[in-house]
């Protein structure tokens, strides 16, 4: 019997997709919890140091929302799903690569129903009608499992401030690569709030050799004046340290909603809450802050350990009910994924869509999907595209065009190179140009055809 059904508009699907994409940065699976008035998605990361909760208001967010309940689930219904499969179902548009066709493929409406009960297969069924007349039905199996909620005591968290999420997001752009920790602190007179990014990683190697000193990442501090915050009350000289990766993940989503982001926190080693809301959606994050002791151990930890492990050293969040041990991924997979995410969260990569696509691919490689997932859209014909862009570059102040060719593939060949102080003894190389000088030019028919198509001989150099 149908326990829950709701309808999403085109925009609703996009908002849900953004929320799921944000949660995917923390975990692989999500708990969906339906109540008569709201639908909640929660997830906890594997080290239990970050908890994410998105609440969608029943009447405000959905075009239609109906929680039936049954004998088993009278007040609430809950289940656990893979975020990746939800992401592929609730895609705002089908990426075919052709913008004209994409426009037709936008979603007209999306109906979701949960069918459950004795003797029935437990399924989440999503029917998505697109403007091009195609209606796709997806049926996802789920696991019935009570959600885990992190506890947060607002009375304890006396420190708080609110600021525009866009401002905060732009500040993050100033932080360079290779950093792990963000220290939010105030100075003596509490005139400014400092955001300091640093890492303890390279320290140990740095002690060994002078060279490594130069490999340390940028140490960045940003001072923001108190009166740029709303509703600010922060204890003097308090240092709160959180993971940069988590913070970036949150801000990347927060800036889409462009609302005010509010924080509440108490002391090191105690949870910190970040929240913001958009139309009918409440987004809450509870992050464990690094305790003062932990900060010390991190200073001495093996530099090889990556962020995932350091996060694991942090005390986990208090949880209401213990999560069953059936965490699907092995630790290693999680780590790989986190590394991948770290890469894709590079601040230069501010466009959301490519980030998402990039992330999907390695995850697919890591784990055989248990669910029936639609195949990824085929990548655009790379050769044709890159070829035509190689010779005739777009004008403008685009720094990309100055990047060296094939920088990644940088192995030295056997050819002899003339050193600046070398003798002028000529070294034989693989092919001698002189042997070709007297040959007639190869007839053009021998040139592979794809090269011809790549070069557009009609274009004049002046147009380059």
């Amino acid at each position: 019997m149908v326990v829950l059904n709701f309808t999403l508009s085109e925009e609703g699907v996009a908002v849900l997709h953004d929320a799921l994409a944000c949660m995917f940065k923390f975990s692989d699976d999500v708990c969906m919890e339906a109540r008569p008035d709201k639908l909640t998605f929660t997830t906890l990361n594997i080290s239990k140091s970050a908890y994410v909760c998105f609440t969608f208001a029943g009447t405000r967010f959905f075009s239609r929302y109906n929680f039936e309940g049954n004998a088993q689930y009278r007040d609430r219904f809950f289940c656990q799903l893979y975020i990746k499969s939800l992401l592929s179902v609730f895609r705002p548009r089908q990426g075919s690569g052709d913008p004209a066709r994409d426009k037709d493929a936008t979603i007209e409406r999306c109906d979701v129903a949960i069918d459950d009960g004795p003797g029935k297969k437990s399924r989440l069924v999503a029917r998505i009608a697109r403007r091009n007349g195609i209606t796709a039905s997806h049926s996802l199996p789920f696991e019935t499992k009570p959600p885990t909620h992190a506890k947060f005591d607002k009375n304890e968290a006396k420190n708080h401030w609110t600021i525009s999420s866009r401002t905060l997001r732009q500040l993050m752009d100033h932080f360079g690569p290779g950093i792990e920790l963000l220290d939010i602190n105030t100075d003596d007179e509490a005139r400014v709030v400092n955001f300091t990014c640093f890492t303890e990683k390279a320290q140990k190697r740095g002690a060994n050799s002078n060279e490594a000193v130069l490999k340390k990442p940028l140490h960045t501090n940003i001072a923001v004046e108190m009166d740029e915050f709303d509703d600010v009350d922060v204890q003097d000289k308090l240092h709160i340290i959180i993971s940069v990766k988590d913070f970036r993940g949150i801000l990347q989503h927060a800036q889409i909603t462009s609302g005010e982001l509010a924080t509440n926190y108490s002391n090191p080693g105690r949870p910190m809450k970040l929240s913001y809301s958009a139309d009918g959606v409440l987004c809450e994050f509870i992050l464990m802050t690094v305790g003062e002791k932990d900060a010390m151990t991190q200073r001495h930890k093996n530099p090889q350990l990556n962020a995932a492990k350091s996060a694991a050293k942090q005390p986990g969040l208090d949880s209401v009910s213990h999560r069953a041990s059936s965490v699907v991924n092995s630790n290693q997979q999680q780590q790989q994924q986190q590394q991948q995410q770290q890469r894709t969260q590079d601040p230069r990569n501010t466009q959301r869509q490519p980030t998402q696509q990039k992330k999907d691919t390695p995850a697919a490689r890591l784990r055989q999907p248990q669910f029936e997932i639609r195949p990824q859209p085929p990548p655009p014909p790379a050769t044709a595209r890159t070829d035509s862009s190689q010779l005739f570059v777009a004008q403008g102040d685009d720094d990309e065009q100055w990047e060296p060719v094939n920088d990644d593939d940088d192995d030295e060949g056997q050819n002899a190179r003339l050193e600046w102080n070398a003798t002028d003894e000529p070294n034989p190389s693989g092919i001698r140009i002189s042997s070709y000088l007297n040959k007639p030019t190869a007839p053009q028919s021998e040139v592979p055809e794809r090269l011809l198509s790549g070069l557009e001989p009609t274009q004049r150099l002046e147009e380059v």
């Binding site: 866009r166 990442p217 060719v405 600046w420």
Partner: protein, 358 residues
Amino acid sequence: MRFKTDLKNIRTFSKLTAALNSLEKIAWVRLDDDTVRFTVIPDTGSQVWASLSVDLIFDNYHLQSAEQNNTINLELPLGPLQRALKSAANSNQANLRLTKRDGVPMLSMTIHTMTKDGAQDGRGPAGGGGAFGGGAGGGRNNNNFGEPDDPFGDASDLFQQESLELTMKREREKIITQDIPVRVLHPDTVETIMQPKVREPDVHIQLPPLLQLKAISDRFTKLALTTAGAGRGAAQNPKLELSANMHGSLRLRLVTETLDITSVWQGLENPELDPAQLSTPLEEHPSAKFKQAGPDKWATVRVDGKDWSRVLSVGRLEGRVIACFADDHALILYVYVANVDDANAEDVVTYYVSSYST
């Protein structure tokens, strides 16, 4: 040892850093009273000696050192410097000083900057729309329709301008500190590093726009990579043949087993040499002989396609580039950086391009 300066022409500084960073990750920086010199010497590939007058990129420059001639030698990672300069790119003010944090020397860049709020652009409060009077300058701002600084001001625009200022009032200057790790070098360690000495060139010629040259060179390099059979060492690092004559022509050529392609530029300038700077009379200079020999007398070198691509990334500096060819021996590029404040300043980035025998 003290070093403190304000930054100016951050765009130029940033582009220079990016160009150097494409060749090598760590640079040797030598500061003295008049010049700042950046040197990168990769293990393989072209080396660069950039010698800039202090006032090209610095202002209120203070330098104090116990070393001879008041110099400071630093080893500096270019990636973090580039990153820090990116932060400073649209700043109101930025300065740089040598300091120590936890006993480790740092180049600390302090940047005063604003954030952009939402859809507004980043010109700060001064860039607000208030300056535009109603109806002024019709075609000048034709891309501004519908934006708050639309010159065709009517009542609704005025209202938008007001709300813009309200949001600006809340925007405060942020102070960003970017600490770049550095190593202070002892004079003895850098004493032995000498700028290469090369014989007088056979041909000197002003290169065509580097963006064009780079696009075509990169195209040739990629062609060589794609057409070559797998597993042959030579194909992995394709070599381009670069020639020039004293009659305004530059020739770029790629020869592989299956293809032979050439691009020729004509009508380029062979700049006059200054006889005062020559050790030999002008008519005995090698270039004079090449000129006499006519347009079929080419000076040729072979360069590594990938390295050449990294060299050409200096084009982002938008300087005038003179290439000096010593036939079958060496190629040197002199990139003259425009200095708006001092037209006589000799700001030159010298590339000693690694070349290969034919």
